[in-house]
């Protein structure tokens, strides 16, 4: 059921883009193959020709394409960032997702008709901040950081001068996006500077007598007993010692999944629900998009009577980080 809440899905490649569009995404978001976006991973993302083909495919099937240019370029990377921005406008993407105030200023000045969305990396969690980006650059939408409770999301929507998009499913950032530099503290590269978090090049796995260890630039992130499922060593999902206890002191490996509160989220007035995961495979994108499409359609058809179907939750948990899910900050006790 298109035309209601927009389902925004990730595409790290042309096959993933087609998978998302074919499975019911209303919009897909993509990035270029360089350090201009927050999923700057080897072998991922689009060159100009692929992006053009992707935009053509999506538009032919009634889906929109957003392009993420959501790092914070430094003087040494400024030209690359503005060139990428000019290129994206030329491709006819439906919106640019930008975090950096300087880059937003450039976009608003040089491409005043281009639709701009404030990236989650822009850290705008309140109406005054959103108003700032609206007044200065005419942003049309804000993607909210995953730090607000449901009630707070509702308040932001009520007072926001622009559309509000929220994350619905995928790996969970525990920190305010755009303000977390744990990754560069340990590896030298962060989402803000390089478009990466806990980058794969810094990961090392070691088999030891006491079990398997995961390290990030030499720093021990976790130890796994024989037979224990091991997760990617993202810094905020490691097991650390605090006092006498060793535990997931920041967050357990888990994924955000808003299906249990979908009616309340839609009632809050958000216009779009986003799926995380441009680094994921086309098969993953297909699976998540199908479930989210079905859930959104069901919820929009009958908000009062909606309950997430067990098969949806099971299907999503199977492909989730840690094979489980959370509502994250939306659910006050999580905080």
């Amino acid at each position: 059921m298109k035309g209601g809440i927009e389902l925004v899905c990730p595409a790290g490649s042309l096959p993933a883009l087609r998978a998302a569009v074919d499975s019911g995404a209303d919009a897909v978001y993509i990035g270029f193959q360089d350090a201009t976006n927050a999923r700057n991973f080897p072998g991922l993302n689009f060159d100009e020709a692929q992006a053009r083909e992707g935009v053509g495919y999506a538009h032919a099937h009634g889906a929109r394409v957003f392009l993420a240019l959501n790092v914070y370029p430094q003087p040494s990377g400024w030209e690359q960032a503005t060139r990428a921005l000019d290129k994206a406008v030329g491709l006819g993407v439906d919106a640019l997702i930008i975090a950096d105030p300087g880059l937003l200023r450039y976009a608003a000045r040089h491409h005043p008709r281009q639709r701009l969305h404030l990236s989650v990396q822009g850290s705008a969690t309140n109406r005054h901040a959103i108003q700032f980006y609206h007044d200065h650059f005419g942003i049309r939408r804000v993607v909210l950081p995953r730090v607000l409770s449901l009630q707070q999301v509702r308040r932001v929507v009520e007072t926001s001068p622009v559309e509000v998009e929220v994350f619905g499913y995928g790996s969970l950032c525990v920190m305010v996006e755009g303000r977390c530099i744990l990754s560069s503290y340990v590896t030298g590269e962060s989402p803000n500077t390089c478009g990466v978090c806990s980058p794969a090049a810094a990961v090392r796995w070691e088999e030891t007598a006491s079990g398997r260890q995961s390290r990030l630039n030499g720093v021990l992130i976790d130890c796994y007993a024989p037979g224990e499922a091991a997760g990617y060593p993202t810094l905020c999902k490691g097991r650390y010692q605090v006092g006498e206890h060793v535990f997931h002191a920041i967050e357990e490996p888990t994924s955000l999944n808003v299906l249990p509160v979908l009616p309340a989220l839609l009632n809050s007035g958000v216009v779009a629900v986003k799926v995380e995961g441009r680094q994921r495979s086309p098969a993953y994108v297909t699976q998540v998009t199908r479930v989210m499409r079905a859930a959104l359609d069901a919820c929009q058809a009958d908000r009062e009577g909606f309950t997430p179907r067990e098969e949806w939750l099971t299907a999503l948990d199977r492909i989730s980080e840690g094979r489980c899910h959370t509502l994250g900050a939306l659910h006050r006790p999580w905080q």
Partner: protein, 296 residues
């Protein structure tokens, strides 16, 4: 270069905060940032209390700046921010674009370290909004600072965090409460029990982070003593020292001595070494991982 004392990141009770600033009044710092930047639940000091402290410090000859919350979520937090921004007397440090929005066109303000000013275009925007000083985001290198100094708007001062633990991340979640199996809404203000935060170690004992309520700081303090002459050469106007329960007075006097040319950086480091039993970091300055340390 001037010396600034950053806001206290930890939850110290009212008495301790007052006693601390009573001593600061006599320290050789030029600028003092006061206010709660981390957790809106820490309301032991009301705005009037901060203003009284500001008055005391102003009388002692300090330039006082009111610092503001980094993560703003609830309406009440915006209300508190609005009152600070409308104080009418003291300059305000904006740590969120909400504060920049409220301060724009209402006189000079400071764009704090949590405003992501990573390029000249952003600095130009902040200057247009009325920023008269900006603080270098802590993950940027000396080389980036040099490039930004070449692009900085006329009249804009530059401040760099030169000593103290690095603010690395903020969350909706309170890590200190969670470590004690308490939800944030019933946190019992446990962070008051840890005036220097809670150490987080790896499973092999490496000091990695420091929990401070909803914030994570580095375990090792950043130390740019070895870069002071370079910072001076780049035209940096202010060096910031972040308060800790111990050693802050020594850090201030040591930096003052280095700036005055009475102490060389290597000797200065020896003076401060006892306060950093697990070492320092300066990797960001060198364009490397922030936790790295290169001795001067």
């Amino acid at each position: 270069m001037k010396l600034a004392l950053g806001p206290i990141p930890y939850f110290w009770p009212h008495d301790r905060v007052s006693a601390f600033y009573e001593r600061v009044a006599d320290w050789p710092v030029d600028i003092v940032y006061v206010g709660e930047t981390v957790c809106p639940k820490r309301r032991d000091l009301k705005l009037e209390d901060w203003l009284a402290l500001a008055e005391r410090l102003t009388a002692a000859g300090k330039e006082v700046v009111l610092s503001t919350l980094v993560l703003l979520e609830a309406g009440s937090e915006l209300g508190a921010l609005e009152r600070i921004c409308a104080n009418g007397r003291y300059c305000v440090e904006a740590n969120d674009m909400a504060a920049v929005q409220l301060l724009s066109g209402h006189g000079p303000f400071v764009a704090g370290p949590h405003i992501n000013a990573y390029n000249g275009e952003t600095l130009a925007l902040l200057a247009e909004c009325g920023a008269r000083r900006w603080v270098l985001p802590v993950e940027l290198s000396g080389a980036t600072l040099a490039a930004l100094q070449a692009q900085r708007p006329t009249g804009m001062e530059t401040e760099v965090l030169a000593f103290g633990r690095l603010p690395l991340a903020f969350s909706a979640r309170c890590f200190t409460a969670r470590a004690q199996n308490l939800p944030k809404d019933q946190c019992d203000f446990r962070c008051a029990d840890y005036p220097g935060g809670v150490p987080m170690k790896t499973q092999e004992g490496q000091m990695l982070f420091t929990m401070n309520g909803v914030q994570l700081l580095s375990a090792a303090p950043c130390n740019l003593l070895g870069a002071v002459s370079t910072l001076e050469g780049l035209g940096v106007d202010v060096l910031r020292i972040a308060p800790e329960p111990d050693g802050t007075e020594e850090a201030v006097s040591t930096f003052r001595a280095v700036l005055g040319g009475y102490l060389d950086p290597a000797a200065a480091q020896e003076v401060l070494a006892p306060f950093a039993p697990t070492g320092w970091c300066n990797g960001y300055w060198h364009g490397a991982e922030g936790m790295a340390w290169q001795a001067c």
